[in-house]
């Protein structure tokens, strides 16, 4: 039986980590909800965000967490031509064509990362990323708390954009019924392009957080894609607040799995939960409908 302090610390760390996982999954969820596209390059966009954070720090000396809006804008600017030239021409060819295109993009990006940055393991070295935060018997990594706070703020902002702005209204209309939205005058093509850019921007911010909290390399994206898929399924496709809840639940359950079975079984617990939700509540345990 683990020590009570270890147990509480592990669960608290798991919940905070879940908040970060939610931000890493948010972009995937929005793109899936609106465009019906399983973005198989999502993990590579996360890694791109991590590299962007690393080089942002190296070239400007500014902390990458302060530079998150800039990183988000850079990633969005990268995503727009990608959508315009690669995905938009395939919009009428069914979901498989776009999905396979993104699979190809993921492989190309992995190789470009190796060519441009070498295959070395990297980490954004910040003093706060190596500091503990102790409250009574509970000790959690300070970076988890910082990441959690940033994730919650970012998710609330995105939720506000989706639920309370004109763009959000068009986005929700396009997600519910693209044809009807187009008939009512919504520029579905532009909405999808901006949604894709928003999704990639969120991935970029999540990646920068991951880069500061953990380590990354050209091939790190695959593991984060799997976790993000689990969060999306738990929270419901395109459900922004559901994604936050999904992340928290996944983080907490993975930490419980790590505590009881060993750290090596975290992903097993996460994937078992993913399959269970897919089987019994395929719209997510919170979802009542799409945005």
């Amino acid at each position: 039986m683990p020590d009570i302090g270890v147990a509480l610390s592990t669960i608290a760390s798991g919940v905070l980590l879940g908040g970060i996982l939610a931000l890493t999954a948010l972009g995937l969820s929005i793109v899936l909800g609106v465009m019906r596209l399983v973005n198989l390059a999502h993990g590579e966009f996360l890694v791109l965000g991590a590299y962007a954070g690393l080089f942002f720090l190296q070239f400007t000396g500014v902390d990458p967490l302060l530079g998150l809006p800039v990183i988000a804008l850079l990633l969005a600017a990268f995503a727009i031509p990608l959508y315009r030239w690669l995905l938009q021409p395939l919009a009428d060819r069914g979901p498989e064509a776009q999905m396979m295109t993104m699979f190809a993009v993921s492989i190309i990006l992995q190789n470009l990362f190796v060519l441009a940055f070498s295959a070395d393991t990297r980490s954004i070295a910040r003093d706060y990323a190596a500091l503990p935060l102790t409250l009574g018997p509970i000790t959690v990594p300070l970076i988890y708390l910082i990441g959690f706070a940033i994730s919650v703020i970012a998710i609330l902002i995105v939720n506000w954009v989706v639920s309370s702005t004109a763009f959000g209204r068009d986005l929700r209309a396009s997600a519910a019924d693209a044809e009807a939205a187009a008939t009512m005058g919504v520029d579905v093509k532009s909405v999808r392009m901006l949604t894709f850019a928003l999704g990639v921007a969120c991935a970029g911010m999540g990646g920068a957080l991951i880069g500061a909290a953990f380590q990354f390399g050209p091939s790190s994206g695959g593991a984060y894609l799997l976790n993000s898929l689990a969060v999306v399924v738990l929270g419901g496709l395109g459900n922004v607040l559901g994604t936050l809840a999904g992340g928290l639940v996944l983080g907490a359950l993975q930490s419980l799995g790590g505590l009881t079975l060993g750290d090596g079984y975290r992903d097993l617990v996460g994937m078992a939960l993913f399959l269970a939700v897919l089987a019994f509540r395929p719209d997510g345990f919170l979802a009542r409908g799409r945005p």
Partner: protein
């Protein structure tokens, strides 16, 4: 009738393919599959440099005499992406398409052994470093594959010997963390518990995790709660970086921290900065070693690449030299003659004396290295040391 342009194109492609797959008659083709991408790319880049340097030196000296005629050596390197299946496939390709006469190994038992089994089946000589000897010997009785590296029991005991000999005092509680790869299971699962007991330690934790694990909070929390002042870790570089970072973020700093495998390449220290200071790693080579060309090899690497050198440049360079010397001694590209010549290897290389035993292994002596200010220093044995032990871990 077939369109003439298409016919020409087909002929050109066929000719190009033929050209790509055929070695020139006047060159000796050797090959290697290396992890140039994926988690072990940190090792592969150093090995690639070592292999290429040995071949370049031979070619600059006029090549190797085969059948009374000097021939240049061509080295073909294929990326195995840190995937044993890709190593096996690359080795097949090197043999069947590239027509290599002999090969050099990849890195870590999982990759080296995957390629070695293909070489063994095809009866092509393969010389490797980067494969700890017990893991290498456990696969089979080798006839065509030769391994120059350290022996796990030596490496597994070096840090505890160093700590005892240098008088570093701890509470004698030790935690052992290791991945579930072949060498992780041998070192962490079998050898370390016994060695720890021999040195009088109480093993308060022995935790195993998958090779691709990223979260270690439970393992770290348990070791902290059990007050282990000595932690031995066997993990590849991404995990090693994650573990060190998460230890610091959990407020856990043991007095002695040894991370085998993952703390070897310089990218470990680059990713961690100050957090790398004090981490011990077993080493089999340092530029300060009294072997011919040791200091020059590190200088050459650093001036060419502008990077800090790694011990992996030495075992790869030596493995390639051993193979090239074997081909020269055979005076032939016949695999059987090369293999017979390799068996007679008895010479001092940049890593020390190399002479293969009946298991096809040549054992390298092991020292204790410690990261200090972004570089490794030899802290034990005293006869070889280049710096003092940083104790406890800052």
């Amino acid at each position: 009738m077939r369109h003439p342009t298409k016919t020409c194109l087909a002929a050109a492609i066929a000719a190009a393919s033929f050209g790509l797959s055929q070695a020139h008659a006047d060159e000796i083709v050797i090959g290697a599959s290396l992890p140039l991408s994926g988690p072990l790319a940190g090792f592969g880049s150093f090995q690639q440099w070592g292999y290429k340097r040995a071949v370049d030196e031979v070619n600059k000296a006029g090549g190797i005499s085969v059948g009374g005629k000097k021939e240049m050596v061509k080295l073909i390197i294929r990326d195995d992406k840190t995937d044993p299946n890709a190593t096996a496939a690359n080795t097949e390709t090197l043999i069947s398409r590239d027509h290599v006469v002999a090969m050099l190994g990849s890195c870590t038992p999982a990759l080296v052994n995957a390629g070695a089994l293909v070489a063994e089946r095809a009866k092509k000589p393969l010389v490797t470093g980067c494969d700890p000897l017990e893991a290498f010997k456990s696969v089979r009785k080798w006839k065509w594959v030769w391994d120059i590296f350290f022996d796990e029991p030596d490496l597994a005991s070096v840090e505890l010997k160093a700590v005892a000999d240098l008088g570093a005092k701890t509470n004698m509680k030790i935690a052992l963390w290791h991945d579930n790869g072949p060498d992780g299971q041998v070192v962490g699962g079998q050898i370390w518990p016994n060695v720890a007991k021999q040195f009088g330690y109480e093993v308060v934790q022995n935790a195993e995790f998958p090779v691709d694990n990223t979260q270690f909070t439970s393992i770290i929390g348990e070791a902290k709660s059990k007050e282990a002042e000595v932690v031995l870790v066997d993990a590849i570089t991404p995990q090693a970086v994650a573990i060190r970072k998460q230890m610091a973020a959990s407020g856990y700093t043991p007095k002695v921290l040894n991370i085998e495998k993952g703390a070897e390449p310089v990218q470990f220290a680059e990713a961690l900065g100050k957090l790398a200071d004090g981490v011990l790693v077993g080493g089999y080579w340092d530029p300060s070693f009294p072997y011919p060309g040791a200091a020059d090899l590190a200088k050459a690497f650093e001036s060419e690449t502008k990077l800090s050198s790694s011990q992996h440049i030495a075992d790869s360079y030596a493995a390639a030299q051993v193979l090239l010397d074997g081909i020269a001694a055979a005076g032939s590209t016949d695999p059987e003659k090369i293999n017979a010549a390799l068996a007679k290897t008895d010479k001092t290389y940049v890593v020390g004396p190399v002479k293969f035993d009946e298991n096809h292994t040549a054992k390298l002596p092991v020292v204790s290295l410690q990261w200090q200010g972004g570089k490794t220093v030899v802290v034990w044995p005293k006869s070889a040391k280049t710096g003092d032990l940083l104790f406890p871990v800052p």
